[in-house]
Every structure is written in C-alpha cells, then in structure tokens.
Amino acid sequence: MTTRDASNEARPLADPVTAEVVRSYMETVCFEMATYVSRTATTPILNQSNERNATILDGIGRLAALSVGIPQFMLTSTLPVRFALEFFGDELYPGDVIVANDPYHGGGHLPDFNVFAPVFAGDELVLIASIQCHHGDTGGAVPGGYNNHAEDIWSEGIRYPAVKVIEAGRERRDVIHMMRVNNRLAGFIGDLRAQVGAAQLGVARLGELVQRYGTETIRACNDANIADTARRVREEIAGWPDGTYSADAWVDNDPAGNEDIRVHVALTIERDHLTVDFAGSDTREELQAWSTFGNTRGYVIAQLASLVDPTIPKNEGFFDAITLIIPEGTCVNPIVGKPVSAGTHHPGVEVGDAIALALSQIIPDRCTPQTYKIGAPRQMWGDHNPRTGKPFFDHGGELYAGWCGAVRGVDGWGAQNASFGNLIKATAEINETLFPHLIRGREYITDSGGPGQWRGLPGSRFVKEVLTPTRVSQYMVNRRHIHPGINGGRSGSGDRCYLKVGGPPEAVIDVRVACQGELIEPGECLVYEFGGGGGWGDPVERDPAAVLDDVWDELVSIGGAERDYGVVVTGSVEAMDLAIDAPATEARRATMRAEPRGTQ
C-alpha cells in the first residue's frame, strides 16, 4: 500500500537555501548515477560515447534534476515513468527496479532503455531515480534496432512498456532471462545491470537525502525549484515580442522513399506564455518514419533550452512554462504501431530545426538548430574479420564534422553542435584494431560551411576502406532539404554517401534514400560527405579579413570567397601571396546587396 505524492495540493514553499542545497545534491546524484554506468558498462556506446543520462523525478513523475548528457535524451525520461506510476498504482514497492523502452508508452525509440526505481519514505513514494542508456540491439528484424524496412513497431524490436526486473529487492529471473534471449548482444544484460546498479545507487543516495530533510521538505524544495525555473523561463519569454511565428522543416524522405516530410510549427507568444503547435505537420499514413510524442516533446525543450540563459536549472519548470499541442496522427505524434526507429532522428530533429527557424524571426542571436542530419546510425558488418576469424558488427560512432551552425558572433567550430559535446567519438587507431577497415580521412570540405556573417562549420569527407567483404546499411537525409542557416545566413553543403568507391567506376553507388546490407568488396571505400553547418547573418556582412583567413586555411576557396561573400581575393595559398582586392570587393558586395537574396 503506497500513498501518492500530493504535489498538487497547496503547501508551504521551501526556504530558498534548502532548495538550493537539495538541487545541488540531486544533480550530484545524477552525476554519480551516470558515472557509475560509464565506469561499468561493457558496450562502447555507453562507456565510450557517453550516451547515457540520469534524471531524478518527484513522486508524481515530474522532472526534478538531471545530469549532463544529451539534452533531448534526458528530457524524454519523464513520460515512461508516469506510465509506470499509473500502471502499477499501489503495486509499486520499495526495492523495485523497472525497465521501459516502449515508444508508445512515453519513450523515444526502442534502443533507449530507461531504468528507474522509486525512493520511499515509509510507504510514501517521494522520488524516482532514473537512468537512460542507448543499447546496441533491440531484438527486432535486424541487428542494431534500425530496420530501414520496418513497416511497424513490431518489426523493430521488443517493446517493454514497464517491466519490473527487480520487485521489492528480489530479482525477477524469469523477466531477466526473457530479456536476455530476446537480444542479440552478449553484453546486453550486463549493461542493463549497470543501469540497475546505477538506479539502486541513486535510490540509496536519495534515501539519505529524504531521511535528512524529511519528505515534506524535499517536496517543497522540488516545488520551489520547478516553480523557479518556470518563472525564469517565462521571464525570458516575456522578453520576446508577442505574435505567432511559424516555420517548416523538411525531411528529404523516410527510409522507404516517401518524400518531403513536413514538420510545421507555430509558436505563439502572449506576454510570458508560449504555445508550441505542430498542427499542419505531415499526416500521410504510409510514412515509415515517425517521432513519438515523448521524442517530439524532448526536442522542443532541448531546442528552447539552448535559447535561454544556460544557467537556468533544468527541470519540469521548462515543460510547465509552455503549452504543447501535437495533434495525434501527425508525423510528430503517431498513432500506436507506426515504426519509429528512424523517426526518432528524422523527423525528430526537424522539430528542433523548425523551432529555431520560427524563433530566428524574433530572437536570432543564439538561434541555431542544435540538431544533426545523421539519417540513422550507419551499420557495417561482415561474416569474417580476418583478425579474429569471427563475424563483426561496426555500429559507427566514428569522428566526423557535420551540421554545426554558427550563432551571432561565433563561427561554427569543432565537429558537432554544443548539444552533443558530451559524446566522445571513436578514433581510427583503436577502431582499426577492432574492425577490418582503414580510415583514409575525415577532413573538412572546402566551401561546405554555410556562408554567413558568421560561417557555419564546414562538413567533412569521411573515407573508410574495407579490408574484407562488408555489408552496409545507411539511411540518408540532408540531400535536398539542407540543415538551415539563420537570419540571412545560408545553408552549408548537403550530405552524400557513395559506396564501392575505388572499384570499377560504374559500380559506384550513390545512396539517395537508403540501402540495406549493400556489399562492399575489399579495397573499396565508403565515402560519406557530411553536410556543413548553417551560417548566421548575411555573408556580405562578414569581415573581409575573416574571409581571407578562411581562404588561407582552405576552408573557403578563392572562388567561394567571391561567390558567397563578395570578397575578391588575389594571389594563391601556394605562392603565399593572398590579398584582398579592396575596390573589387566593394564593387562586388554593392552588386550583391542590390540582388534579392534570402536564406536558401
């Protein structure tokens, strides 16, 4: 018998000092949980890529605190917990640990496993410790969980809406065993156990906190911190001009080839209130890429969080501050049964693109989409790794640069947007000992960064030569609808993927939509050109000296400088005599300013 948290009832607010102490402690517990997984998991995606996040929720499933991870990932942790609270009702006990991965019970897509455990004080549920990790397999039709041919959710893998793996401290051996036999990876249960251990660690730490301060104080602190965040977000919104701002973002195609998937958003600001409405987004039933409600909701908040003061504590207050309308049946809120593994990324990330584009009309400064155009993670595998004599499965995760936009005052830099800065990418020297391939390069591509007053980061050319017959699956986007520039800044280059490069020229495959299990022969290469980031502001306003620097650095060609920026550069890098022709630049820019141009 449990008593529910009565968070909706009026009760005194916590004193601000205790609230701050509790906030700091809970974020530390999140860090401890996430670190526990990193230290102990066996799968590279967890311990190498940092693709794990910890959150703490209150007794009714509101987000109370989170750790550093991938923003959108953390923000999808609440709905599966709320389903479990509702489903189990009074049958939730101290010592329970629950696993959930179902996109239609609040999750994003099947590979993201959410493991959570309740914190009780007596028979009262006070807090929930939750840890989310991406796993390498989901037991569906194809290894890895990304089935480009999936027509429904059941062909993508096993759904776990909310399953107790530990009940009242006792492990459910039957459940664990069922999960083990429904997954291809030997390390799956071990990694799940790392998550279970992390959740249990969180419960222990949070139990100490509850014991120290008492249930009432902890609830009051959560209320105070959530209200404080909501108020600070609303203050930011109040600073934005009232009105309705709309934008479209498009996905080239789903893996089945359905083209031009539209994500439409209208953001309405009334004083300190923001309504985000996706009515008008694609509703074609035949689509094979859908972003679930929970996934869409996470992308909304992740993009909004990048637009406000980064020091505002991340909690339910972000959700409270906005009204979200996502009509069922649109590509960003599918009816139960649609396939979602691809849609988690596309049209998932286009949710962020659309919001950035809409808000760039009024608050352009920090407004760059914190998104990516990955398609789906590339998968390469073969029957025979000459080094081991065994089959191999290479899930990508390698380093490249792509889709990193500029903001006002800062050119795109590094390899990826800041929101992915916690992902650490794989290296050539280690991976070449794991897989039969050679990385031939991953350099920036000249003229691929979106031109702007501040330039988007160039994309990169990634070349992987295989040393043994290797199959590849790849779903492509960003060939026609390109990652956008902002406020007059232009798009960068799009994505391209060529297979069998280096073999007979006529055999080269230009992947336009998707490929599944295409065979590459030894000595042939996969060449993937990752797209550039969008620029910010009109390229004609870019400081000519900065353009000249880019030419010296071969990020922009002499032709590109004139075409995209109106900067006429003479000489050559080889002759070490580059210079700006100032009068010619003046003239060229005057002509360009007179031409009608827009964000392409």
């Binding site: 670190t35 929101s419 290296t427 390069g441 010296w552």
Partner: protein, 703 residues
C-alpha cells in the same frame, strides 16, 4: 661544511607568491615568500631565496653553495597556454587527418551553451599540413612516405614563420620510421628550425587525437619552458649552487632538467603536485589511510584523492587550458568556491560563486572597494574568522562592510544579515561537499572510507563542516597550511609514469611483443632514474596492464606481476584478466564473462624515493598565547566558543573539544560540538569527528 649541509629547498611559483621552504637536516623547516615575477619567474625565485638566506643568517652564496637539491615547481608552461605566448607552431600529419586538432573527438565543454567560443588555436589550418603516408595498426606501410611532400611542407611552415614543428603520423607508435625520416627531411630543408616534436617520442600511445594534441602542445610550450629552465639553471649556478636542480612534473614527481628538455609539456598541470604530495605525507605521518585533500583559497576549491599514500593520478582525457594533454597528471578537480566567491540571488534562490571577488577588490570586509557579499564576509559575520587576526593580522577586516553587503543580499527574500551569512555558508559548504562526491564517484570511492586533509587560507575554516557532510570521521589540518605546496616539493619523489600501447584481445595476446614493450619501458625508466642519480635500492616499480571491454574509451589499469629481464608469464596475464573481471563483478555489473577484455597497453610507474628528513614542528613560542572566548554562530545558533592558539596544542598533550576555534598562523580551524582536536608528532592538527555535532551542518551522517 656549514650547518646548512643537506639543505633541500622547495620552490613553488604560484600566481601571486613564490613560496620557498627549506628543510634542515633535523626536520625543522623555514618558509619564506616573495612576489612572483611573471615575465621571468626565475627573478622571483632568486628574490625568495635571498629572503630565505637572510632568515637563516647566511649569504645567498652560502645557502646555495651548500644546498643538496632545489626542487622547483613552475607554472611557465601553464601561463604560456593561458596567455597563448608559445612558439609559432606547425603540424605535419598523415594525409586525411589534417583537422584532428579542431575536431577534438567532438568534445565541447558546455553542452547547453550554443554560443560557446572555440579555444584559441595553436595550429591554424594553414600550418597543419598533411602528407601522403600511411602505416596500419600492425606496422605495415600502406602508403610510403612522400618525401617531396614533407620537404614542401617544411618550406611552407618556414615561410609562415613557424619555428617549432610537431610531426604526428597515424600508428607511429607501432612503427617510428616515417616520423624519424620526416624529421630528417625537415631539418634538411629548415636547418635552423627551433624545435621538432615527434609524436612517438612525446606520447608513444594510441589514439591519434590524444597523441597529436599532446605533441602539438609540447611543440608550442617546449621552447619557452626550455629557455626558462636554462635561465634558472644559469642564475642558480651563478649564485653558487652546485646541487641537483629538480623540476616538478604533473605526474606527482620530479625529474632532472634534461627530461624537461625532452618533453616540456609534462610540466603543465604540475601546480597542484606539491600540495597533493604534502597532503599524502601529512596523512601518512598522522596514520591516516586514504584521504581527500582540499585546498580552499580565495577563488577555487581544489580537491584530490590520495590512495595508498600517493596522490591519485589520472592518465587520460586530461584537459588543461582547453587543450588535451594525454600525460599522467595528479588528479586535481577544482570548482569555483573560495573565500572570495560572490553570493547573489538567481530568481528566489541564493547562489554562491563561481565568480570570485578575487584579491582586489576582494570581499566587502577587505575594505578595498568590494561591495558584493562573499564567503569570507559570511564567515566573518558568523564569528568563524577573527577580524583582528585574519592573515596573521596583516589585514584588518571591516565587519560593518560585510554586514551591509549581506543585509542587501538577504533583504529581498526576508533574511537579515546573519541569516543571509548562514545561508551563504550552508550553500557553499553543500556545493563543496557535492564537488567531492563527484570526484569520488569518478574514482569509485566512498567518502565514508576516507579522511580529509584541509589546507589553503580558507580550508581550515570549512574543514570540519566538510568532513561531517561527507560522513568522514577524521580531518587533518597541517601546521604549514600556508606554503604547503612548497613543502610538498621537498618530499616529492622521482616519478617516471609511462605507458606504451599494445592493442589486442586479451585471449590472444602476443606475450613476446608485450614483454618487449615492458623491456623498453623499463629501460627508459632506468635511464632517467640513473641519470638522476637514483640507486636501484631506492626504486619501486609498479606495472599495470591497461584493459578495457571492446570499444571502451578509457583504460582500466590492472596491476600485473612483471620481473626485470623475465618474459611476462601467461599466469601473470590471466591473473590480471581475472582481476579485471573480479573488479567488475564486485560492482555487481557483469553476470558472467560475457565479454572478454582487450589489452590497450602496459604502464610502468617507477618511483625513485627522494632523500628528505622527517618533519618536526618548530619549538613552541614562549609564552603560549592565552585562551580567549568568542561568540560564533553554528547553523543559525550563537554559541560561546573557546579560542586556542595552535601553539597550545603542539606544546603537547592537550586535546580540545568543540565548539572552539584553533588559531593557525594564516587561518582558523573551526571545531563543531563533537569535534576533538589534538596535535600530531609533526605539529599538524588532527580532528576526530564524533557524534552528530549540535549546531553542525545538517548534511552530516551519511552512514
């Protein structure tokens, strides 16, 4: 010989002061400090040594002439990176890998800040030149070195004014000849090049970004550091010094200047080495096992873990000044919390730091124009600091100014000055305890198994509160809390901590290849220690096998038994693998050996024990200052506290129970009710934390 025979002198250059400590043969010490001279740190070093000589009543020439060793910690490399004043640097790399320095494996420091700016570039793209060549992971040449391309690159770099060149090719740690040949070609084209740094010499390890970055930073700071060390050697020699100059490295030990010439980047991040070594030594002397050392000053709270008597060293993913330096470093984590941390309102919440009022204007109570409330102001208002004795009475504190600042802070949320002060202290104590929890989470340690060593000007004021919050039972405050880093240098050992990469699944490791790597590591370490005059009887060697699950990023070093000139046995290897599995099983992680680990390499930590006396406290002053009483506030309640001079404790046999204040030379030690303090043999103060401590911080008692 004079009475100064066997002098060992520690010289620690800090941001503001250059501290020098001299240890006499009988174990007593003398401390002096002089202002740091940033332009050429060796000037300040000589100034401080002159003060030391005069305090000893000898001439500088006599002092230097009879010193056996001078142990020097320098921040020249760190300053060079902070100010970006290194040598004009270029990079020659493998075709296809021109942009590694910018890509940074995708890492950015703040995932929430879309407007985060890029780090200043050491090697812009125009001076990163890729040449055709490729070696595979087995050392086969896939693409021969394009010698003409290397020559062109050298010419280009020269034309760009580059004077220091890094060369980093893929898999060069497996096969070195391409880098070696490229260096010859560069010298041929550019005979007066200032310096060439080869990646297989600077960091003979995978993976490529880590090795390239470390090599590039070495190329950048190397010429500056080498020049500085040579100048210091000259000045000391001119001053009559005939002993050994030893330079502190980030790995927690010292080495001769020649080793710095070979790899100057190893001094970056060495600043905290002295404090961590001193903390380890003080803990050992007090009979404490593993400890967390905290250094709380004006702006930052530096934490490190000491296990098995040595500062914990982090071997990977060490970022300093936004550059990755993949060398072992004393693992010091810092957060922006100190006496100068500014408290303000954010929404309805009080937040403290990370901004600091610094030394100028400093806390409001300094009376130097600062008006913002700080932690020092709060401690002052709560009676934890004596306004008349602060900084040994050198700076009178303005209580009224502190009261005014804290009144203004509390007013909007209905707190008076003392309540606001209580809030500020409670919050900063919570932040700091949480920061320690994070450090320990990364290390997989439980704070309740550890003790605390607290130093720095503000460390003793907050030490017992921290210990309680973390559930620790003992807390040590060193007598020489000021100048503690320099003291640590005197005790620092010679440390060679090197790793070599060997990549293979553990089940089919080539033991002959692994043994050959071990021989190479041992030979290199022996050469360095022999150069430094360390005899075999003073060398301790610990070997580790670096293991990971397939694809894991960070190596897990597992001890392995390796004997000199003996091939590694299959038994030793499988014992290490078993230990790896055992550690994972202990954490309840892996239900079976579902995954077999992979070997990432070998690591040797060779320690040459230094020769230094056991420390002893100075004779207590006579008369010992009398006790007094002071009202202090502990968690919102005023209480009468005994105020006792440290000399009373060190004079022997006295124990002191809280609530009380122990006045130290440059700080105050706060004792809560339930704390009992006594002096150790070498004059430090050891506090037993017992009971719940009425009036103590609420975050106590984790157990």
């Amino acid at each position: 010989m004079s009475a100064t025979e066997g002098y060992r002198i520690g010289v620690d250059v800090g941001g503001t002061f250059t501290d020098v400590v001299l240890a006499h043969a009988d174990g007593t010490i003398r401390l002096e400090k002089a202002p740091t001279t940033p332009a050429d740190q060796s000037v300040g070093v000589l100034d401080a040594l002159a003060l030391l000589a005069s305090a000893e009543g000898v001439t500088v020439v006599d002092l230097l002439g009879s010193a056996a060793a001078i142990v020097h910690g320098t921040t020249t490399g760190d300053n060079t990176l902070i100010e970006m004043t290194g040598a004009p640097t270029g990079l020659i790399c493998s075709e296809g890998f021109r942009d590694e320095m910018d890509l940074r494996r995708g890492y950015k420091e703040d995932i929430w800040d879309a407007a985060l700016v890029a780090p200043p570039s050491i090697v812009r793209r125009r001076v990163r030149l890729a040449v055709p060549e490729r070696i595979d992971c087995d050392g086969n040449v896939v693409v021969p070195l394009d010698e003409a391309a290397v020559r062109r690159a050298a010419q280009r770099l020269r034309a760009f004014g580059v004077s220091s060149i890094a060369i980093a090719f893929l898999h060069s740690f497996v096969r070195t000849d391409h880098e070696v040949r490229a260096a010859e070609l560069v010298r041929d084209e550019y005979p007066d090049v200032g310096m060439i740094s080869l990646s297989h010499e600077i960091l003979p390890r995978a993976p490529e970004f880590e090795r390239t970055s470390t090599t590039v930073v070495n190329a950048y700071v190397g010429p500056v550091i080498a020049k500085y060390v040579r100048r210091l050697e000259t000045r000391l020699k001119d001053g009559g010094f005939r002993g050994d100059l030893l330079i502190v490295r980030s790995n927690g030990g010292v080495c001769p200047p020649a080793a710095i010439e070979r790899r100057a980047v190893a001094t970056i991040g060495s600043g905290p080495t002295g404090g961590a070594v001193a903390a380890a030594a003080a803990a050992r002397a007090a009979g404490l096992a593993d400890v967390v050392s905290i250094d709380m000053g004006g702006t930052s709270y530096d934490m490190s873990l000491v296990r098995d008597g040595r500062p914990e060293v982090k071997t990977e993913w060490n970022w300093r000044h936004r550059y990755l330096i993949q060398l072992p470093m004393v693992d010091v984590q810092a957060v922006g919390a100190g006496g100068g941390s500014v408290a303000r309102l954010a929404g309805d919440r009080i937040v403290v730091g990370p901004q600091s009022a610094g030394a100028v204007p400093g806390p409001a109570c300094y009376g130097l124009g600062g008006s913002e409330p700080t932690v020092t102001d709060a401690d002052l208002l709560l009676g934890r600091i004596d306004p008349a004795r602060f900084a040994a009475g050198r700076r009178a504190l303005d209580v009224e100014a502190a009261t005014k600042a804290l009144t203004e802070l509390g007013e909007p949320i209905g707190l008076d000055a003392v309540e606001a002060a209580t809030a500020v202290v409670e919050i900063i104590d919570a932040y700091m305890a949480d920061a320690v929890r994070r450090l320990l989470a990364l290390a997989g340690s439980d704070p309740r198994d550890l003790s605390l060593v607290a130093f720095g000007g503000m460390g003793p004021v907050h030490a017992t509160t921290q210990a309680r919050a973390l559930g620790m039972r003992q807390c040590l405050v060193p007598l020489a809390a000021s100048g503690f880093s320099a003291l640590g240098l005197i005790m620092a050992d010679h440390v060679v901590d090197e790793s070599r990469t060997y990549l293979a699944p553990a089940e089919n490791a080539d033991l002959a290849a692994l043994s050959a790597l071990a021989d190479q590591l041992a030979a290199d370490a022996n050469a360095e220690l022999t150069d430094a005059g360390i005899g075999e009887d003073r060398i301790d060697r610990t070997w580790y096998l670096n293991l990971v699950f397939p694809g894991q990023t960070f190596d897990v070093p597992i001890p392995i038994a390796i004997a000199a000139d003996t091939p590694i046995s299959p038994v030793a290897l499988s014992a290490a693998v078993d230990e790896f599995h055992r550690r994972n099983a202990e954490a309840r992680l892996i239900e079976s050996r579902a995954e077999e680990p992979r070997i990432r390499g070998l690591r040797l930590v060779a320690v040459g024990r230094s020769d230094h006396p056991d420390l002893r406290p100075p004779p207590p002053p006579t008369p010992i200052p009398a006790r007094s009483q002071r009202r202090i506030s502990l968690n919102g309640e005023w209480t009468e506290a005994e105020v006792v001079d440290i000399a009373e404790l060190t004079s022997g046999g006295v124990t002191l129970a809280g609530p009380a204040i122990v006045e130290l030379p440059f700080s105050s030690l706060l004792l809560h009710a339930g704390d009992v303090a006594r002096a150790t043999a070498n004059g430090d103060v050891l506090v037993d934390i017992t009971g719940t401590g009425a009036g103590s911080d609420r975050l106590e008692g984790n157990r």
